[in-house]
């Protein structure tokens, strides 16, 4: 029903532990084409269902914003559905649905991704619509105003009326003093009310260049057919100057930062945001396995201790934001009723200090590898999952071919590497701790 802008805590990848024949077959089914204007098209032919998933990855997110204009990338994503010179407002969705297609999009700190899912007979239309909106967007003033209301409602849903969302916005702002990763993707309230059509036009010109986009197609489409459509509809777009690079480096954090929030609530919350490496860091496979061992499933170390044995937490999650630049790895704890957050923090810190010192056991590593392998296969079992992984590897991990190298990389991770990753990550000097302490609702 919704088109989530997804400015939530980012996702973490699943990775395989062992390569298999289907992966090798997958590798052979993928081809890419670089158009003269710099737009890359990646195609994975898969005839298992008569459908196609198309994801267009644009390398712009809230990382490219400035104070006063936070939320612009996400708002712009919404405007991409609101009409062009050729197709009036609402036509994009009306035409796509009438040919059996649906769509969505999400924006995060680093990228904006547009997704279409449709029967193969709608291929021509979808290419026409996608090409049209990356060059002829209208940005009509009355639509900007109504979309402002939609995004404001989204912000109230995800932040103001959501204790987890509220606390994480505060923690994120405290964790960075220089880097634009401090901006909430949904945008601050005054910024949502304030941006102008000029801001949007400037943003469009700067970032929606063909050389700043990668289009991924997976499903019931041949390479030749997809490449011909790409040349026809996208080949004529002019290459533009590359968007300005984000040069800000976050200074080294030398001590723990703390954020305290008091709100009406039944459950106290704790969030740890550790400084963590960028997506393409060599330690990425070890970090992924470490996080899986700590929080994924009932047997994971933190879940078993905090939820099962000591009953101090209702839920434990972790999310390493893997972006272009070093960012954050989050641990979020919903505490059990009546648990003092300070006492919970002491217990968690003792456990994490032990893991930073000693690393994981063989059983932990074994479990993490197998869970990651299964998660990887699960994601590869849909055309949408394949499209997402190809796009993510192409945009953030040095190229789509690395997707097929991932199983070997993860199988090779040793306990020593995990120990090194744990020592790097779980450093209290480089973290921001958020605490939400319940207050009785005012009556």
């Amino acid at each position: 029903m919704n088109r989530p802008g997804s400015p939530l805590l980012p996702r973490r990848l699943s990775v395989p532990a062992a390569p298999g024949p289907a992966l090798a077959a997958g590798h052979a089914a993928v081809r890419s084409l670089l158009l003269d204007n710099g737009l890359k098209v990646i195609v994975w032919t898969d005839h298992s269902i008569p459908s196609v998933a198309l994801h267009n990855w644009v390398r712009v997110g809230s990382r490219n914003e400035a104070p006063g204009l936070t939320g612009l990338a996400h708002f712009f994503e919404h405007m991409m559905f609101n009409g062009t010179a050729r197709h009036g407002a609402g036509e994009f969705d009306r035409l796509m649905e009438a040919q059996g297609g649906s769509n969505n999009a999400f924006t995060c700190d680093d990228v904006t991704v547009y997704q279409d899912w449709f029967p193969r007979g709608a291929l021509d239309l979808v290419f026409e619509l996608e090409a049209d909106r990356i060059q002829g967007l209208s940005l009509a003033p009355e639509l900007i105003e109504s979309e402002r209301g939609v995004v404001y409602s989204e912000r109230l849903l995800r932040v103001d009326d959501n204790n987890q969302g509220y606390l994480s916005e505060q923690v994120q702002r405290a964790a960075f003093i220089a880097h634009p990763y401090r901006f909430p993707t949904i945008g601050l309230p005054d910024d949502i009310r304030g941006w102008t059509v000029q801001d949007l036009r400037q943003f469009y010109r700067t970032f929606y260049a063909p050389n700043n986009q990668t289009m991924v197609l997976v499903g019931d489409v041949s390479h030749a057919e997809a490449f011909a459509l790409a040349r026809r509809y996208l080949g004529g777009l002019p290459r533009q100057p590359d968007p300005p690079r984000v040069l800000v480096c976050e200074p080294e954090q030398l001590g723990e930062r703390r954020v305290m929030v008091r709100r009406p609530a039944q459950m106290a919350l704790l969030q740890y945001a550790y400084k963590a490496p960028a997506a393409n860091d060599p330690l990425a496979p070890a970090l992924n396995l470490l996080l899986t061992a700590l929080v994924d499933g009932n047997a994971s170390r933190l879940h078993r201790l905090l939820v099962e044995q000591r009953m101090v937490a209702q839920e434990v999650t972790a999310d390493w934001h893997q972006g272009f630049d070093p960012s954050l790895c989050w641990f979020c704890f919903t505490l059990a009723e009546g648990i003092d957050p300070h006492a919970a923090r002491d217990l968690i810190d003792a456990q994490l200090a032990g893991i930073a010192a000693d690393g994981l056991t063989d059983a932990d590593l074994h479990r993490a590898r197998n869970l990651n392998a299964a998660g990887f296969w699960k994601q590869l079992s849909t055309i949408d999952g394949k499209a997402h992984l190809l796009g993510e590897y192409e945009a953030l991990r040095g190229g789509w071919r690395n997707l097929f190298a991932a199983p070997v990389r993860h199988a090779a991770v040793t306990r020593q590497e995990i120990c090194a990753a744990a020592r790097l990550l779980l450093n209290p000097r480089r973290r921001t701790v958020g605490m939400l302490v319940p207050e009785a609702p005012r009556c």
């Binding site: 298992s48 008569p50 609402g90 059996g100 709608a122 109230l156 499933g297 009953m311 919903t334 299964a374």
Partner: protein, 456 residues
């Protein structure tokens, strides 16, 4: 518009049920096996008829707690060993209770099928129900409701809404329990539920994925050979009664920035004959992005991030529900617009062009929801639960093709409620909402912090 021949082709390809085998074992359990070799995984879905229908009066949540405890120690393994055995193999295993069934599903690497069946059989036949695990599980179920109230209160709208719509009928009880009802449950209730309502005659198991059919059939027969029928007969359901006048429940959430609302009515059962027309009309009314509801509340006015509608169809009835939300000060405007949009559908119906668009949309999207082995396991198990056969899916494509404007009109008349038959639930800040909801009907108020979804 998608060309008619493309629709015909899609209706054939996208709705084809994969080859499978169905057998009923000597103990009464139904087994469906679906071989499928795209990735080295095997998924299972086991459904047990009954679900929350077996909850004793006043003890909503017994089935849910029982389901949650099945993997917290069973057979030779305590809870920790059970979890290690699943996750050490990269597997998943989860169990929950719904209004009419308990669902257990999971996925394992293909090489671990023997372990998968062993764990599943232990969970069903030999759960330990240890007292310490019971207390923990109950605390977590209560905590789950409370954390939704803190961070995602709109998720609880159906629980409040069904209580208003169905009252003391089992459909009015929350399958996951309420904070109060969960507190009243004892370990004995769980043990008794397991004896009375978990048994081979209630079960359908579907296994799908990279498997050997002959091996799997034999292995399931051996593992479940000693499983006995449930100790009690399947709970029967009385017919539901429709609301005679509109009712309003205000759930007071002090400080809430938006109002989250739900408009519902007693709806159709699983065997409703005009389901193809129903699917098309609902898609036009509130089931897709350009639907009438989303157009009014989001696209045209910018009042809300989204609005939608849907039918949930159970054994004897179901519910039709609309959901949306808006800033507190805009609550009445958003509800008015919702009601006007429903009236417009009832008054003006849909056009041939709209119907064709919906047809293309539903046919075009269908294959994307039945893509993986796990999707098929879930789908085929649900067919068994309601006594339906694969023709229910294979016939759906052709049925969608044949829906006429007259069919759509009939569905609008009989399936979509008039504004008077609706129950309205609003989770929002009562102090700021003031008397704005009174024009919709007599308002009852309950605190979001209360331990129950109803005042009774």
């Amino acid at each position: 518009m998608l060309k008619p021949e493309r629709i015909i082709e899609l209706a054939r390809q996208g709705f084809a049920v994969p080859a499978h085998e169905r057998i009923v074992l000597a103990n009464g359990m139904t087994l469906v096996v679906v071989p499928r070799r795209d990735v080295p995984l095997v998924a299972f879905q086991l459904l047990l008829r009954g679900g929350a229908l077996g909850d004793p009066p006043g003890l909503a949540g017994v089935a849910s707690l029982t389901a949650g405890l099945l993997d917290k120690g069973a057979g030779e393994r305590d809870a920790a060993a059970f979890a290690e055995s699943i996750e050490g193999a990269g597997g998943s295993f989860s169990a929950q209770a719904g209004p009419e069934s308990i669902s257990i599903s999971g996925q394992f690497l293909a090489q671990d099928q023997p372990r998968m069946l062993e764990l599943l059989a232990d969970a069903l036949l030999a759960p330990r129900f240890a007292a310490a695990e019971f207390s923990r599980q109950r605390l977590r179920h209560v905590g789950h409701i409370r954390s939704l109230k803190d961070s995602d209160p709109s998720e609880l709208l159906p629980q409040y809404g069904r209580a208003v719509l169905f009252g003391r009928h089992p459909y009015g009880q929350p399958a996951g329990g309420s904070e109060d009802s969960l507190q009243a449950i004892t370990p004995r209730d769980v043990i008794e539920y397991h004896r009375a309502h978990i048994g081979a005659d209630r079960a359908v198991l579907v296994v799908a994925g990279d498997l050997d059919v002959a091996w799997l059939k034999t292995a399931v027969e051996q593992r479940f050979a000693s499983w006995r029928p449930a100790g009690a007969p399947l709970p029967q359901l009385d017919p539901t009664v429709k609301l005679r006048r509109r009712r309003v429940l205000l759930v007071d959430a002090p400080g809430s920035a938006q109002s989250y609302f739900w408009l519902g009515a007693t709806g159709l059962d699983r065997c409703y004959r005009r389901r193809a027309a129903l699917e098309l009309v609902n898609s036009l009314f509130g089931g897709r992005f350009t639907s009438l509801l989303n157009t009014e509340l989001r696209i045209r006015t910018g009042l809300s991030y989204g609005a939608g509608s849907g039918f949930t169809r159970g054994r004897v009835a179901g519910e039709f529900a609309i959901r949306s939300f808006a800033e507190t000060q805009q609550t009445a405007r958003a509800i008015d617009l919702t009601l006007r949009t429903l009236s417009r559908l009832k008054r003006e119906g849909v056009t041939a062009a709209m119907l064709d668009s919906a047809r293309a949309y539903v046919v075009g999207q269908y294959p994307l929801n039945l893509e993986t082995a796990a999707d098929w396991a879930a789908q085929l198990a649900e067919l068994e639960l309601y006594g339906l056969n694969p023709g229910y899916i294979e016939g759906f494509g052709p049925a969608l093709r044949k829906v006429t404007l007259a069919d759509a009109q009939q569905v609008i008349e009989e399936a979509f409620p008039s504004g008077r038959q609706l129950a309205l639930v609003v989770i929002g800040d009562a102090a700021r909402l003031g008397a704005r909801l009174e024009r919709y009907g007599p308002v009852q108020q309950i605190a979001l912090g209360a331990g129950s979804f109803t005042q009774h």
